[in-house]
């Protein structure tokens, strides 16, 4: 149900990893400023969606289309998708010893500014911004000097992802189970960070297994992903329903009840 105002339009997407089909006909339409939650049982294809949208090697699109701001996303290299405004906050961010967090952040911001034809930011100005971002996500400034995610706890890694989002200012953020492994305090910090970034021209896909995160990040729409398809969509109240009843009732529903996002 896409139209010209959509930020992201996914049509009948089929995708597989190592010849195993995971996404089996997924449709989703997201307008600027909207927050969509994608919930679903383990193995439904929630993380795969993020990998496919970001263009990870070994994840192949078999059919369907994806446009971001009207551009064919699937034709782009991973880095060009990021430069076009796509951001994926990973469930398990990679540790890169030897590459400092600051160097990594600066290289990311530089690459994106350059792609947009903007002037390069000076190291001093960037350091100021990075320090402010650290503060906002409650990470000690010393983490800028450490290797990317090196020796960070689970919660610190998630906050580091959030910090990257603050600095990169993407149009579409995909948060892949950002709540997993977080205690309630860390969860609140992450949610506050996300909420501070909500704006009329920035959209979010919040992928989560549990309803808990959605107490803090209020979604406009909730979709249930099961066996590679969206099997039900609704407003925030759907998440509460799922919390109470689990996923099994949805997986058995007849095909005609499927809704598009």
């Amino acid at each position: 149900m896409s139209n010209t105002n959509s930020l992201l339009t996914i049509k009948d997407l089929h995708a597989s990893v190592e010849e195993k089909q995971i996404i089996k006909g997924l449709d989703l339409d997201i307008k600027p400023g909207e927050v969509h939650a994608i919930m679903g049982p383990n193995g439904a294809g929630k993380s795969t969606l993020g990998y496919v949208l970001s263009g990870r090697d070994s994840y192949s699109v078999d059919s369907g289309s994806v446009t971001l701001d009207g551009e064919d996303l699937l034709e782009m290299e991973t880095e060009d998708r990021a430069r076009a405004g796509l951001f994926l906050a990973f469930q398990y961010p990679v540790e890169i010893p030897g590459v400092s967090n600051l160097e990594f952040l600066k290289a990311s911001v530089d690459a994106q500014r350059q792609a947009r034809g903007e002037e390069a930011i000076t190291s001093a100005d960037f350091l100021k911004e990075a320090k402010a971002a650290c503060k906002q996500v409650n990470l000690p400034v010393a983490f800028l000097k450490r290797g990317v995610n090196e020796g960070f706890s689970g919660g610190e890694k998630k906050r580091n992802e959030l910090m990257q989002m603050l600095l990169l200012k993407p149009k579409l953020c995909i948060l892949d189970e950002t709540d997993s492994g977080l205690d309630i305090d860390a969860l609140q910090i992450v949610a506050e960070g996300v909420n501070s970034q909500r704006s009329a021209d920035r959209s979010f896909i919040v992928v989560t297994h549990y309803q808990r995160l959605l107490d803090y990040i209020k979604p406009d729409f909730v979709h249930v992903l099961s066996d590679g398809k969206i099997v039900k969509s609704g407003d925030a109240s759907l998440a509460l329903e799922l919390e109470a009843q689990g996923y099994s009732w949805l997986q058995k529903e007849p095909v005609e009840d499927e809704l598009e996002g």
């Binding site: 290299e77 991973t78 990021a82 990679v94 010893p97 030897g98 990594f104 290289a107």
Partner: protein, 419 residues
């Protein structure tokens, strides 16, 4: 035997000085040593053609060769220019407790000590070590008195002009409880050949911080060794960085001659073009309760070749030894070559000893992660390669040296092509 070695032996026979007894011993051993070929295990991957074909000649002129400056670091300079110790470049006044002198200038008692110590730490199996014994113009003896900590690093520079041949030799003696930093550095212009050997005797509770750089070697044939003898509770921390050359061969020997000694060795080499770098690192745990940690990392691009042989020998009496050897290699092209061989020989039963060697391409997950943030694939590759080496640079105890070498390495990566 090669013509080159024959001529070297003839030249050595003509030298008559205080080192003559040691030179004669080395010549005896050389007479019974076969010139290495591909069948010689220690030289299997390192053909000696560049030595056999060298046109390099010993020069008597020092050509005013000066060591490159290291930003924010003021060192006590020990300079060998075309093989000759350049007295003029040594500071007139040295810190209290430190002495640096040419063996030939020592008084007879000191000279007798130096002669006794000569070639006792460097094992006799190193053929070029024997050649250095026979041909070194003299020995520079660096010693630190008991209990003295020298803050200023001593830098030993081996400088060679185009077409020059040099053989330099240093003895470093750290008195009990003393502390010293030594930087060995080779800066060679083209078509030169050098052998540079340093022996370190680190007395009880003394602490040596050591660096060996070979960053300006180009078409040089650079052969050398750093050999360390550790007494009770002695400590050493060594960092080796090499860019390779037509032929670069380095032998290190760490000997735990006392108990509770602690040795760390971090070596990294970055090779491009048709360069070759061969590191043979040997650790002898002869006494109990010793500790060794070795990290060797290597990045090989284009058609370059890296050789690493890491031997750890734990003798029967060396109980409670902790030894770890970690060798990781990255190949940037399918024509690049890495030959790595960890060798553990353990004769004691109560020890902890681990080793591992990996040869890999770049980490695809990390590459993807960087790309998802907008960094191009090629830039991400350079960042990851640099990170691989930078991990060890971060461990350099001397911050000024680390800051100096980091951009040099970055520059090197910018030149190394990923194919």
């Amino acid at each position: 035997m090669s013509e080159w070695l024959e001529s070297a032996i003839t030249r050595a026979q003509g030298i008559n000085d205080w080192l003559t007894p040691k030179r004669a011993h080395a010549l005896d051993l050389l007479a019974n040593t076969k010139w290495p070929t591909r069948k010689t295990e220690a030289w299997r991957y390192t053909p000696l053609r560049p030595v056999e074909r060298t046109q390099a000649k010993v020069m008597s002129d020092k050509f005013n060769l000066l060591p490159v400056a290291i930003t924010d670091l003021s060192a006590i300079e020990v300079v060998f220019a075309n093989g000759q110790f350049d007295q003029a470049q040594l500071a007139q006044t040295l810190p209290e407790g430190l002495s640096i002198a040419l063996g030939g200038d020592l008084n007879s008692a000191q000279q007798a000590d130096a002669l006794n110590a000569f070639s006792t730490i460097k094992p006799e199996r190193h053929i070029f070590g024997l050649i250095n014994d026979a041909l070194a113009q003299d020995v520079v003896v660096v010693s630190v008195a008991e209990g003295v900590e020298i803050a200023q690093p001593v830098r030993i520079s081996t400088l060679l002009s185009q077409g020059s041949e040099s053989h330099t030799r240093v003895q470093v003696v750290l008195g009990a409880g003393s502390k010293l930093t030594v930087i060995e550095d080779v800066q060679a212009q083209g078509d030169s050949l050098n052998t540079a050997f340093v022996e370190y005797d680190i007395a009880a509770k003394a602490h040596l911080e050591h660096y060996r750089f070979a960053l300006q070697t180009g078409s040089n044939v650079a052969i050398g060794g750093s050999h360390f003898n550790l007494h009770d509770h002695a400590k050493m921390h060594s960092t080796i960085i090499g860019f390779g050359s037509e032929l670069s061969r380095l032998d290190t020997d760490i000997i735990h001659a006392g108990e509770f000694a602690d040795a760390k060795l971090n070596a990294m080499y970055l090779l491009d073009g048709k360069e070759l770098f061969d590191l043979h690192a040997t650790v002898e745990h002869a006494m109990p309760n010793g500790k060794t940690e070795e990290n060797v990392r290597c990045i090989v691009a284009d058609r370059a070749r890296a050789i690493f042989n890491g031997r750890i020998h734990i003798h029967r009496d060396a109980q409670k030894t902790l030894a770890e050897l970690n060798n990781r290699n990255l190949l940037l092209s399918d024509k690049a070559e890495i030959n790595t061989k960890p060798e553990l020989e353990i004769y004691a039963d109560d020890v902890k000893c681990a080793h591992g060697a990996t040869v890999a391409q770049i980490d695809k997950q990390a590459l993807y992660y960087l790309q998802t943030r907008g960094v191009s694939r090629s830039k991400a590759q350079v960042m990851l390669n640099f990170g691989f080496i930078n991990e060890l640079i971060d461990l350099m105890p001397n911050a000024a040296l680390a800051e100096w070498v980091r951009p040099i390495i970055r520059e090197r990566f910018a030149q190394m092509e990923v194919k």
